[in-house]
Every structure is written in C-alpha cells, then in structure tokens.
Amino acid sequence: MNTISEVMTLKVAPPPLDAARWRKDFPVLRQTVHGKPLVYLDNAATTQKPQAVIDCERQYYETLNANIHRGVHDLSQRATEAYEAARGKVKRFVNAADSREIVFVRGATEAINLVAHSYGRRCIKAGDEIVLTEMEHHSNIVPWQLLCEQTGAELRVVPINDAGELMLDAFDKLMSPRTRLVAVAHVSNALGTINPLARIIETAHAFDAVVLVDGAQAAPHLQLDMQALDCDFYAFSGHKLYGPTGIGVLYGKAKLLDAMPPYQGGGDMISKVTFEKTLYNVLPYKFEAGTPNIAGVIALGAALDYVEQIGLDAIAAHEHDLLDYATDMARELPGMRLIGTAREKTGILAFVIDGMHPHDIGTILDREGVAIRTGHNCAMPVMDHFRIPATARASFALYNTREEIDALFAAIRKAMQMFGVDARRTT
C-alpha cells in the first residue's frame, strides 16, 4: 500500500520499482504458463484483478448478500447502502455533476445499446445522420447500424490517416444540420490512439448533435472529467478497469436521461404499475430494471478505490514509459511494422511481421508465457484501412514491467527465427 505522501511523489516521476510493488496486489500474476512466468499483455481485452477487488466480491457474498432497494431488513439496507456508495465513487471517478447521471449496466456494450435504443428511438428519424469514425470497435458500430435500419437514418464515417489519427478536416465536412449524434471512441482499442474529444464535442455541439463517447479503453488510463468534457454520454466497462466482468457504467447528462424512455421494463424501474399505465421511477433507477449485479457494482467501487490510491497520473506515466520502451525496441526490429503510430497514444503496441500471420505469432508467444491478443480485435474497418487481415497486439497495464517487454521481444525474435523471418532484414 502506498501512503498519501508516496502517491503524491509518484505523480511527479514514477520510479519503475513501483510497478513491481503493484504487481504483488495481483494474485493471478504469480503463475507460470507452459513452464514460463506469465507475462500478461492482453490488458486491452481485460485487466487482471487486485486482491482488494477479489476480497470485496467475496466479502459481499459472505456478509452482505441481499436484494437492494426493497427490503426493510438489515442486510438489504446495508447492501443498498454499499451499492449506492459505489455509485457515489463512480460519480467522483468521472466527475459527474450528479450521481443520478450514473447508470449501472453490464458493460460498455450495453451502455451504447441503451443509448441507441432509448435515445435513438426517441430522437433519431429518417433522414437524420449519425457520425462514427473508422477506428470504432464493433460495439460502437453495430448498434448504430441497427438503429439506422430501424429509423431510416444514415451513417457517416470519419476516416483515419495512416498513423491511425482521425482526419478532423473530414470530420468538420461530414457534420451538418442533419447530424443528430456523434459516436466516438475516446481511445482506439486497435491502435491506442487518444482522440481529441474536446475539439470533437465542441464541433458536434455547434451543430446541436449529442456526443456518445466509448470510453472502454480510456477509463483505465486517463483522468476523466465529465463536466469539463461536456460529453452527453460516456460508456465504460468495469473489467478493463481492474474490476469484475459483467458490470459497466453509462454516464448521461441528467436532462437527456430524464427525457429518454426506459430501455428495459421490469422491477425497480417503476414507481407505480397498473394495467392502464406505468409511472417510471426517477433517475437512475429508470434504467436499472431487475436485480442488478450488486456484487459487481460494489467490487467496481473497490477497483476505483484501488486505482485512485495509486493515481491515474502515476499509472499513465508508467504505461507511457512502457510504450516508449517497447516502441523503441519495435523500431529496431526490421520486419516488424507498428499499426497505430498516433502522437497521442495509450499503452497499445499493435504490429504485424512480414511473412508471419498474427495467429502464429500468438501461439509461439504463448509457449513463452507471453499472452497477447491476435486477430482483428473486433475492429475490422481498422484492419481494412491498413489492408491487413489482423494484428498482434500487446497492451499494457499498471503491473507490467520493462522486464516483461524484454520477454515479449525475446519471444518475438524466437518466433521470427522459427518462421525463418530474418530479424535483421530491412523492409
């Protein structure tokens, strides 16, 4: 555990030693895979969980388990308090104006679907336009395509350049009085690009369009501030943020959420039901039908506590150090091409190697204990842009170390050797 004064020092210059200390909080990292120490570099898919989060979830079931918002008995009261306290933690974490703006859902995907269904059905009509970007993850493409099919609205796609950055001139040209909504990733899962959200949101608002931000890849790495950003909706998942799977958050401006119809009907989202008419509950309960993932919500609160104790600035600085270190090594390795070289990036190193398919790279690395993601990373349009079928992707978290990057590159060299791809060859 870091003391407050240590955390303050870390914010200025994080010594690499601390990652080794943070590692000790993650029991899953203390194992070998195929006889080699596990090097977990698939954090953009999901992060590992610290002991504090695991303990929190276990403790909930051991000491607190009860349904919330309805019981008059003690356990139910305490469970409700813990659940609502977690909502307060999320509100602080994203600096929302009001905890009524925090809706618990299953994950970022459900958050986006909620907006597409509820806001979309109420506010998007035939002839309207929805602006997306070429770097979106499938979760931030498909719900809008479905909405377009249902309403007759049309998609407009902002292209990216070969560094993997949005082409803002093209974005400006795509915007029109018909644009009702802009859906954009804060950080690209396939490229690591950090998008200039403030600029995008300002432009969208000038056209009276609302902005939904897919923050699944940003929340674990960047300080969030909903009020400063002024975005209308922000979606993220707990499991990429050192929390449990099956829990996520939709932030939405209260005035927008208030005007939206419910997404699902059921218990807790109503205030009065007769067969003639149902009165909906107030925010945020209107959007939380049925018994929620109570343990997941409370453990997500524990994950946010954990992250805040270390400090997102310290985490970001550490991951940036790893990215710089890995990028330099990649540039010294001919035959390896980085996909995504934006100036503003989080710790994602996506690459291809001439003469080797990413799947083969993934299998060989796995035998060295190195876990990476291979494939199209649920971002097929990004692969199409770079005219490749897939990438290999190493993605970093707070517990990764420079030694693990060394292990990654040793394994890559071994793979190249096996495939007869000469690491010294110039391309």
Binding site: H34, H357, P358, H359, T363, H376, P389, M418, F419
Partner: protein
Amino acid sequence: MGDLRDLYQEVIFDHYRKPRNFHALADANRSAEGFNPLCGDRLTLYLDVEDDVITDASFEGTGCAISMASASLMTEHIKGRRVQEAEKLFADFHELVTHEHGTQSSDLGKLEVLGGVREFPARVKCATLAWHTLRAALSRQTEPVSTE
C-alpha cells in the same frame, strides 16, 4: 504438452510459403467461401466436379500458417477423388486434429503433419477452415461458411 515443433513441421512451413493450387479456377463448377470471424482468416475454394469426381481444386485467401498449409495440402489430396471419399476424408481429418490418436485407417497421407494441432485447441479452427469450406462447396451451399 504439445511442442511447437509438432505444430509447425517443415512441411507446414513449405506449404505456407509456397501454397499449392493457389489461384482461382476458371472452369470451376463449385466454389465456396470460408471465414473465421475470430481471427479474420478467409479463403475461397474452387472445385471442378465431373461425374462425381473432383477433377480439379484450388484456393485463394489469407490466413495463418496452419490454415494456409491445411488448404494447400487439402487441395493436393482431394484431386481425383470421388465426392463420397472427400466426405470421408473430412471426417478423418477432423478426427486427426481433435482426437488423441487420430484415426487408424485414415488415408490422409501428408495431411498427417497437421496432427500436432490437436495439442493446440485454439488452432483447430485454423486447420479445419478449408475442410468446412470444402463441405460447403460440395453441398453447393451459397452462404459463406463460418467457423464460429
């Protein structure tokens, strides 16, 4: 524990780097597309079937060493075979890559080099993509086949 050398045998590298029958087939009367949405591998298989005999076979596509070598070896192996034999080969091959000892009475020949896949369950779909596509082409299935 499967060894990487069992998976990546020299024959596989050879067929990956120099895939045989890697072209479109002008007089194909059967074809099908196969796709593995998980990894993005895709291939198109072309067959010429005359009087219930596969007289010619070829493919085009992109994928990993396992999927490309499997497709290359398969096209070599099915030429001149009856459709019914090809169905039997499909079953034998599936057995080879998923079961401990494979099939005893198989007539898979060089395709046996893909037996190492059985120790790498995540790669079974790579090895079988071409074969699922073959079955689709033989049954004149028009929708692309998916390994998902």
